[in-house]
Symmetry: C2
């Protein structure tokens, strides 16, 4: 199995954009190419597009060739669209990994893109319901906010987690995003200042106990990265970032199929164990992490299942500042899904790009001091988790 | 790069089915499991779902976990949906190949499924337009029949290919499907007998020169197969079928981007050369092939670009019976997309399963005598081609 290295990355501006599906993708691809002028786009032999709602919001089936075309790629060995809803971006990177590791291709671009800010509201509702088990859950109203609200209630009941603790996750991630110009809410902070605990707690109720500021933000956005074989990477960069561990677990899709209470996430526990083992590290070795804060409660439960604190102590972990700069592990330094926004399939790739910047010491104001090992995590439901662990390959 | 082997396969009944998206998938999965009782479904560590229109016809985003769940899989290392429109099935198999070849997983199920016979006609029109470059071609009426009709006109003008020769492809493939019980039109033959040249030529015009019988059939259907590492395969079967060559070329998505006339398909020529080279074979070594007869003209041009006859001689090739039993290479022994039907993402996997049966000598009445090497080919546009070459691994 050949070693695989990330050699470039880029994102576009996220928000309510007057750009269509294809334009969003082109912007991220350009940012990615610009990040590493040593890369000749003709040598990119694979292209993996991650997108969830292309068929509805881009009115385009099999979008991969059209996006490849618009960004100037002619992949001669491999191209495809992958889709795992909120886990699509991480899935694209993993898929590129195997293709390179097997020796079939040398350099693959992964691009995630989502156009979500469309004017048809029924369409958006349909989308939210279809993201869950549509036939048996989504169509009865179990959209993501409702589902994660029940997970939050279970966690509060079992461990005494509070609404304040959840709001603290929101406050932290919004504070981080004040240093992330591409974040959806970046301009808001310039105008209204940081999000305070009071603002978060007083925001309108979406699904008890989750309020507006507990939820991630629908947004238009794209992100891209380029992976290469170790050998190829040596020609392209002197700051390689290695992919060293990964996992993907799918115990069930429907929430009703959980044979456990929703305050525990055994699929994530299993995924974490697998990824750490493959990487040969322990949970405490992670310096910086981009994890799936689709809702504040998610980030709290993830602290626990990723092994950074005891089960049930996630609320205390955020309260004590242990997931912030100066704590045990810096979580969501770019502001996460809550503050950057969540363009589903682009999220995993944007997370990976943030880890890439952090491990290369190029994260500017957001830099986590001397970060050597980073992790990105997506979930696409209660029973589905996706992890990649990265290590800087120079010192 | 580890060697990869196909160890099981199955299809369900194709046609206008009173079954939903999930039921179709479950039927094919059951047929696949039934085909090899040595396989313990708990040992399947990867699941790749190929589906094109799930979001519209299954009203389900991220269908992979829900299909995995309904067929009793809990993939603990890898799962995803892949989509490349008509090339989705072949894309799934290729993706499983790299994942196994890299050493990450040992056994992967690939499942393709499509629910196309839905009652909403505008929806179907939207689907057809969105399969092409929607923004610049599909929405102006360049749906697949219109596009391939223009390719046919170019081929007729350049090489004198005739409507009769195209009809002969239809007659051959329908005749083959008389021995394929799962084919969409199987019951029709029982009632009306074989499709004759006259029937095909007199059928109603769709887009000149393509008539109804020149077109593949929309259908509901699913197909599944299981791939394993060579080591694992030894425990599971004494009739291994090896994957020995593959290619995937995407020169462009939009038809307008072709810098050549539509009677030549350089992307396929390149893909064929790559796949033969990787497999270490010549075009004439292929004994049996399942190729993409979305329209009769496609099969004719494919004979040429796959190297089985000179450029421009495809019409003559079918006329002389060289693509039939007793000819140079038996093409579409199960009846192809024209007679079996074309449930987009299921097609590539059903083709692979037919090659699997043929190389194992298990194709019954359809058996190509002593078939040792087989090929499956999908296209998903003029500039996009997907090939896999298989070899029987016993004698």
């Amino acid at each position: 199995m050949r070693k695989v290295v990330m050699v470039a990355g880029g994102v576009n501006k996220w928000g309510r954009r007057a750009a269509n599906f294809r334009q969003l993708a082109a912007e991220a691809a350009k940012a990615c190419f610009d990040s590493n002028p040593n890369i000749d786009h003709k040598e990119i032999d694979g292209f993996i597009l991650a997108t969830t709602y292309a068929e509805r919001t881009g009115v385009q089936v099999h979008p991969a060739p059209f996006i490849a075309q618009i960004i100037g790629l002619q992949p001669k060995k491999l191209y495809m669209r992958v889709e795992n809803q909120c886990g699509s971006g991480t899935t694209a990177i993993r898929t590129a990994w195997w293709a390179i590791a097997s020796g079939y291709v040398d350099m693959v671009m992964c691009l995630g893109v989502e156009k979500l800010m469309i004017p048809v509201h029924e369409e958006i509702f349909l989308n939210a319901a279809s993201a869950m088990d549509h036939d048996w859950e989504g169509c009865f109203g179990l959209t993501p906010p409702a589902a994660f609200a029940m997970a939050a209630q279970a966690h509060m009941r079992k461990f005494g987690t509070t609404e304040e603790q959840m709001a603290m996750v929101s406050v932290k991630n919004h504070r981080h995003a004040m240093k992330t110009p591409y974040a959806h809410h970046y301009e808001r902070y310039k105008k209204h200042g940081p999000v305070t605990l009071e603002t978060a707690l007083k925001s309108r109720m979406i699904a008890y106990p989750l309020k507006l500021f507990d939820c991630s933000t629908n947004t238009d956005g794209a992100a891209a990265c380029i992976l290469a074989s170790e050998e190829k990477a040596k020609e392209l960069t002197d700051k390689p970032v290695y992919l060293i561990g990964t996992s993907q677990v799918c115990l069930h899709g429907s929430w009703q199929k959980a044979t456990y209470e929703w305050w525990e996430w055994p699929a994530l526990r299993l995924a974490a164990r697998q990824a750490y083992e493959m990487a040969g590290i322990k949970p405490e070795d992670v310096d910086v992490a981009e994890i799936h804060d689709c809702f504040t409660i998610s980030e709290i439960i993830e602290y626990e299942e990723l092994g950074w604190c005891e089960k049930g102590q996630g609320g205390k972990f955020i309260e004590e500042g242990l997931s912030d700069y100066g704590g045990k592990v810096v979580v969501n330094p770019r502001g996460g899904l809550i503050a950057c926004g969540h363009p589903f399939a682009a999220t995993g790739i944007a997370q990976a790009y943030e880890i890439f910047l952090q491990l290369r010491g190029e994260a500017g104001e957001r830099q986590v001091k001397d970060a050597k090992i980073g992790l990105n995590h997506n979930l696409s439901g209660l029973g589905e988790h996706h992890i990649i662990i990265y290590k800087r390959g120079f010192d």
